[in-house]
């Protein structure tokens, strides 16, 4: 990276199954205004806007960034749209940060959203096409066979996924912005929920949410100004990486994708991470289906391949159990899934943590955190490292 850059403002809507009181424009503006207030700025101070969301087919609004320009104060300013399926919120934040790191802009607003109540994602992911069988039944139908392959390869016990499902919902109880608040959540409750895509129970899958996330990425100068205006510290960006791989090629390892491993290696090199489990104080990682926690623990190098489930089983990723590397303290994607925003929420939550502003789900003295998002058929990866200290 050339210029130092930091997250200086954060905004997110409360995730809900239906926001009937606002349109998409109202939803994104709510998050954007919150982020501006946090940074002590107004729309006039923003140099450029970067917008991300999952496929346009979900809500059926094509190129919604054009219609959202006015609501996001982007009229007459550079505006960018990012497309990387479910990882898009993460990629969008990275594109925004590149515009500052490159020295082009001082303050960039980045926003990601999904209004699932305006859409039918299950349908959009299962459209009949002549070259495939109409079997998919949404994202769960795509990922469940990969999860089964992971279970077979690693020898993980069947309850590891259920344990993640409980842990992330217990974390969500500490986050007022989370969609699902299930105070009675238990292993039995997960086990008793309907088996939607065997081996995945209903409660091992993410909900369908309306929500938006926004951040202001600022230069070193903009960060100093924001701190002096608001008294709130920035979250410094220490590294950012994106990788992708084809969805179909002979010998592709979808359980532990190479693009994810390469992305992490690049990120860790930039941020000087040698032992992720020891070097990070917490992580927010895209886990839309419970078993993706142990799978990504391995993919991100927190343990050896085949050992991810052992960390989960030991409570290493649980705030409640006092684990050494808490994952998804916000409740994660399992507790809120406004798809396009879900990746940005991971990145945003890491910034909240290192700024010490995460409230009840704050990890004590969190200094350095990892944000990760993946998307599509596990072919897009976006990651960043933020810290309390300047790089």
């Amino acid at each position: 990276m050339s210029e130092r850059c930091a997250v200086i403002g954060i905004g997110q809507t409360v995730a809900k199954s239906k926001r009937e009181d606002v349109s998409i424009a109202g939803l994104v503006r709510e998050a954007a205004v919150m982020a501006l207030e946090d940074a002590g700025l107004s729309f006039a101070d923003i140099d450029a806007v970067v917008v991300g969301k999952a496929p346009d087919m979900f809500e059926g609004v094509m190129m919604p960034e054009l219609y959202l320009a006015a609501a996001l104060g982007a009229v007459g300013k550079p505006m960018f749209r990012v497309h990387t399926a479910g990882s898009v919120g993460g990629s969008t934040a990275i594109v925004a940060a590149h515009l500052v790191a490159s020295g082009i802009h001082q303050r960039v607003l980045t926003v990601a959203f999904e209004k699932q109540s305006d859409s039918d994602a299950m349908w959009a992911l299962s459209v009949p096409q002549p070259f495939s069988s109409p079997l998919l039944a949404g994202a769960g139908g795509y990922f469940a066979p990969i999860i089964r392959a992971y279970m077979h390869r690693s020898g993980a016990p069947r309850d590891t996924g259920m344990k993640v499902a409980v842990k992330d919902r217990l974390h969500a109880l500490k986050n007022p912005y989370a969609h699902l608040h299930l105070p009675d959540i238990s292993l039995k409750m997960v086990e008793d929920s309907i088996m939607l895509w065997d081996p995945l129970h209903y409660l091992e899958a993410c909900p369908s949410s309306d929500g938006a996330a926004a951040m202001i990425i600022g230069s070193e100068k903009a960060a100093a100004q924001a701190t002096s205006d608001t008294g709130r510290p920035p979250a410094w960006i220490h590294g950012m990486a994106m990788r992708s791989e084809p969805t179909m090629f002979a010998g592709r390892d979808q359980v532990n994708p190479q693009a994810g491993r390469d992305c992490a290696a690049d990120l860790y090199r930039q941020a000087g991470i040698s032992d992720p489990r020891a070097d990070f104080d917490m992580a927010e990682v895209y886990v839309p289906f419970s078993w993706y926690e142990p799978m990504w623990l391995e993919n991100l190098g927190f343990c050896a391949e085949g050992d991810g489930w052992k960390l989960t089983e030991a409570g290493a990723t649980s705030m409640i159990e006092g684990g050494d590397i808490p994952w998804n303290c916000s409740g994660g994607v399992l507790s809120s899934n406004p798809i396009g925003a879900s990746g940005m929420l991971r990145f945003l939550e890491t910034a909240l943590q290192v700024r010490g502003m995460a409230g009840e789900h704050q990890v004590a003295d969190a200094r350095r955190a990892l944000g990760q998002a993946y998307g599509g058929g596990s072919q897009f990866f976006a990651m960043w490292v933020v810290a309390a200290d300047k790089p």
Partner: protein
Amino acid sequence: MTEPVTMMAATTRLDYVFTAGVAQSKNLHGLEEGKFIGQRCPKCKKVYTLSRGSCPVDGLPTDEIVELPNTGTVTTYCVVNVPFAGQSIEIPYICAQILLDGANLSFMGLIQEIPIDQIRMGLRVEAVWVEPDELGPTMASVKYFRPSGEPDAEFDSYKEYL
């Protein structure tokens, strides 16, 4: 006073023409004849099923056509028990990744004629086609796959194709 209208639901429809292109046309015409067509990469020699005409690893056209057999192996699977709009199969059903013999890429297929609790990784299966006069240029020409009766495949034989 009546409540103000703040939202309305309007359903829409969209018809579209699908242009298959050169490579997929070969696959779709194969299905029309009740055959699976594969395409081999000239460099890595891998055989792609339902190929899009190039090898994603080598970036080369997969010009060599390979006719594939009716039999294959279930590499992994899930049991779908979720209803969704436009669904045409009764739930619960088995959705499996099937690796045809001689192919290097699996694809998703429906498994029937086996009790759901007996489905397993490594199961050997064969395609059941629709009646000859119902064959068309679509995967719908394959009704489903069913157990072929052969012994299960060893994990090592398909572990790269999960």
